[in-house]
Amino acid sequence: MPQTAIQYGILAEFDSTAAALHAAEKVRDAGFRRWDVFTPFPVHGMDRAMGLKNSKVGWFSFLGGVTGYTSGMLMIWYMNAFDYAIPVGGKPMFSPFYAFPPSYELTILLGSFGAILGMLFLNRLPRLHHPLLKHRRFARVTHDGFFIVIEASDPKYSEVDARKLLESAGGRHVEVVEE
C-alpha cells in the first residue's frame, strides 16, 4: 500500500563521523526541529552540532538522591527512636551519625534509579516498535553506519527540500522511510 502509507521521514547515510557531524550542522542551521542523527557510538561534539541542550537526567538523579537520604534518616529515626525505642549501650536514641551509613547508601541507590529511569523517560524508552528498526539498511546503525533522519512531522518538512539538503550535505542512499 505505498499510496496510503504515511511517511515517517527521510533517511540519509554518511560515510564517517566527520561527514555526519558536518551534515548535522547544516540540518541544524536549516532550522529543522524534529530530526536526529543515528550513530553506533556517541560522537564527540555531536550534541553541539545538533544544537542540543544539556541533558536533564541530572535533575531526576538529584531528586532520587534527596528522597533516598531523607527517607533513610526518617526511617531510622521512626524505627529506633519513635515507634519502638530500644536503649543500646547508653547510646542516643537517634543520632545522624549512626543513621548516616544506611542513608548514604539509600542516597546512592535512589539516585541511580533516578538517573536510569530519568534517562529512559526522557528517551521515551522502552519502545517495542520504531519505524526505523524495520528499515533494512538502518540495521547497520549498530554496526558501522551513520544516519540522519528528518521526520515528516517537522513543520518545515517537505520531501523535496529535505532530500536536497541531505544530498548536498553528502548523504548517500537518501530515501523515504514509511511509518
Partner: protein, 477 residues
C-alpha cells in the same frame, strides 16, 4: 570546515608523533567499528566451543555441590561448620569479605577509571562488571547462611518482627545490609545500562527469531539516536559518579563490622581505606586471572592488548604496595599505642600458631606483587597469570588472618581456642567458585564480553577530528 560534498579519504597519511609521545593504540591494527562488532559478537554467535563445554561441565556440578551443602547446613545446623567458640566468625565471613572485595575491581574499572577519563577501561569493563555482580552474589550467600536460622533472615530487613521490634541501626551489621544490597543493585543497573547499546548490536545481527526477540526486548528499542545518546551519556556519567563513593563506602562499611567492635586486631581506624585498597588489589588479580585465558581462547588479543595487561599489572602493584604499607602501619601502631593486648595480637599473628597464614599473606600480597616493577614480568603472560592467582590466595589469607586469628586469642587466656575448618566449610567455598564460573560462562555465551559500543567510541575512526574519522588532512584538531 569544508562546504563541498564529503568524499572519504582514499588513503590517509597520519603525521607521526615523536617517538616518545606515541602511545600504543587501544585497539591494534586500526580496526574499524564493523570489525569490532563482528569480532566481539562473533564470540557469542559462533558454535559453542569445546573449552566452554568442558568448563561448564566442571563448574555446573560444582555449583550444585554448593547448593547441596547449603541445604545440608540449613537442614542440620551451623554445627556442620568448624565455627566454634571463640571463633564464631570463620570461613563464612572470610569468604564473604573476600568475594565482595573481588567485586570492587569491576566497579573501579567501570566507574572510577571512567571519571578519570582512562579510555583503556572500555576493553575490560564489561567482563569486570560481570565479575563484580557474580562475586557479590557469591558473597551475599554467606551472611544469609551464617546466621544459623536462615528462615529469620528477613530480620535484616527494615521490617518489624513478631514483637513489633525494628532492626537496630546502631549496629554496623545493619549498615552492611544496606551497603551490600545497594552495591549489588547499583552494579546490576550500571552493567545493564552499559549493555543496552550492545544488546541492540546483538539484536540487529540476530539470525533467528528467538534471538531477535530476546535481544530486542532487553535492548528496549535502542536506535542509536543522538538525542538518546545525549541523555544516555549523562546518565552513565552520573552512575559513575554515584558508584565511585559507593564502591569506596562498601568495603569501608564491611570493615566497620570489625573496627567498631572492641577486639584487638579488629578495633583499628586504618581498616576502611586498607580494606578498600585490598579489595581493589584482589579484584584486579581476579580480572587478570579471568581475562588472560579469555583473550586467548576468544582471540581478542587486538582488543585486550598487552597495554591493557601492563596497566592492570601496574594497578595491582600500586594497590599491593598500599596494602603492604597498611600492614606495616598496623604493626607500628600496635607497638606505638602501648596497648599490651594490641601488641600481643600482632605478635601472635606473625609468630603464633597461625604464623603460616600470616606469612602466606605477606608473601603473596606484599613481596610477590613487587615483581610487577619489572617490564619483563609484566609482559610475560604466564607469569602474570600465576602472580594474579597468588594475589587472590594472599588476599584470602588476609581476610582469614584478620577474622580468625584475632578471635583465637582475645583478652582472657581462658577464652583462647583454635579454629579447624570441616569438609563442609572447604567444599562450600569450592562450590562458590562453581557458582561464580557457571554464571560467568553463561555471560560469555549470551552477552558481548566487551563493551562494543564503548570500544568503538575510543577508536580513532570515532573521532570526527581525526583523519581516520573522516576529517580532511590538515583539518583542525
Amino acid at each position: 570546515m569544508a562546504d563541498t560534498a564529503y568524499t572519504g579519504p582514499s588513503a590517509v597519511k597520519l603525521a607521526e608523533p615523536p617517538a616518545e609521545l606515541a602511545r600504543e593504540p587501544l585497539v591494534l591494527n586500526q580496526r574499524s567499528p564493523g570489525w569490532l562488532s563482528d569480532t566481539v559478537a562473533g564470540v557469542v554467535e559462533a558454535k559453542t566451543p569445546l573449552w566452554w563445554w568442558i568448563s561448564f561441565g566442571i563448574s555446573f556440578p560444582t555449583m550444585i555441590m554448593c547448593f547441596s551443602l547449603i541445604a545440608y547446613l540449613i537442614g542440620t545446623g551451623v554445627g556442620v561448620w568448624g565455627n566454634m567458640h571463640p571463633v564464631m566468625w570463620a570461613w563464612d565471613i572470610t569468604n564473604f569479605v573476600w568475594w565482595i572485595g573481588i567485586g570492587h575491581a569491576g566497579t573501579l574499572i567501570s566507574a572510577i577509571l571512567f571519571l578519570l577519563r582512562q579510555r583503556w577501561r572500555t576493553s575490560i569493563n564489561r567482563a569486570a562488571e560481570a565479575m563484580t555482580i557474580f562475586a557479590v552474589m557469591c558473597a551475599g550467600i554467606y551472611p544469609l547462611i551464617h546466621i544459623g536460622r536462615v528462615w529469620y533472615g528477613w530480620w535484616l530487613l527494615p521490617l518489624p518482627n513478631a514483637n513489633s521490634i525494628w532492626p537496630q541501626f546502631r549496629s554496623p551489621l545493619m549498615w552492611d545490609v544496606f551497603a551490600v544490597s545497594t552495591y549489588f543493585t547499583v552494579s546490576v543497573l550500571f552493567w545493564y545500562v552499559g549493555l543496552i547499546p550492545d544488546l541492540a548490536v546483538m539484536r540487529d545481527r540476530a539470525k533467528t527469531q528467538i534471538r531477535k526477540f530476546l535481544y530486542g526486548l532487553f535492548a528496549l528499542g535502542w536506535t542509536g539516536s543522538n538525542r538518546h545518546w545525549s541523555n544516555y551519556e549523562k546518565a552513565y556519567l552520573i552512575l559513575a559518579g554515584l558508584s565511585t563513593p559507593l564502591v569506596l563506602s562498601v568495603h569501608s562499611i564491611v570493615s566497620l563490622d570489625f573496627s567498631v567492635s572492641q577486639l584487638p586486631g579488629w578495633h583499628t581506624t586504618i581498616f576502611p581505606p586498607y580494606f578498600v585498597a585490598g579489595a581493589i588489589f584482589s579484584g584486579f588479580g581476579m580480572v587478570l586471572t579471568l581475562l588472560l585465558p579469555l583473550r586467548k581462547v576468544c582471540k581478542l588479543e587486538e582488543v585486550i592488548t598487552m597495554r591493557h595487561i601492563d596497566l592492570m599489572c601496574k594497578v595491582t602493584l600500586a594497590t599491593g604496595s598500599i596494602v603492604g604499607y597498611a600492614y606495616g602501619m598496623e604493626f607500628f601502631i600496635a607497638w606505638y599505642s602501648g596497648n599490651p593486648y594490641e601488641r600481643f595480637t600482632f605478635l601472635n599473628r606473625a609468630f603464633g600458631p597461625y604464623w603460616w597464614a600470616y606469612w602466606t599473606m605477606i608473601s603473596c600480597n606484599v613481596f610477590i606483587p613487587q615483581l610487577f616493577w619489572f617490564k619483563a614480568i609484566r609482559t610475560n603472560l604466564v607469569i602474570v597469570f600465576i602472580l594474579s592467582i597468588l594475589v587472590n590466595i594472599g588476599m584470602w589469607f588476609e581476610r582469614f588472618v584478620i577474622i580468625a586469628t584475632s578471635l583465637t586469642r582475645e583478652f582472657l587466656p581462658s577464652n583462647w581456642g583454635m579454629y579447624h575448618p570441616t569438609w563442609v566449610d572447604i567444599l562450600t567455598y569450592v562450590g562458590t567458585f562453581g557458582l561464580f564460573c557457571t554464571f560467568f560462562l553463561l555471560f560469555l555465551r549470551f552477552l558481548p564480553m566487551i563493551a562494543v559500543s564503548e570500544v568503538k567510541g575510543v577508536t580513532p575512526q570515532a573521532d570526527p577530528h581525526h583523519p581516520l574519522g573522516g576529517a580532511r588532512e590538515g583539518g583542525h584538531h
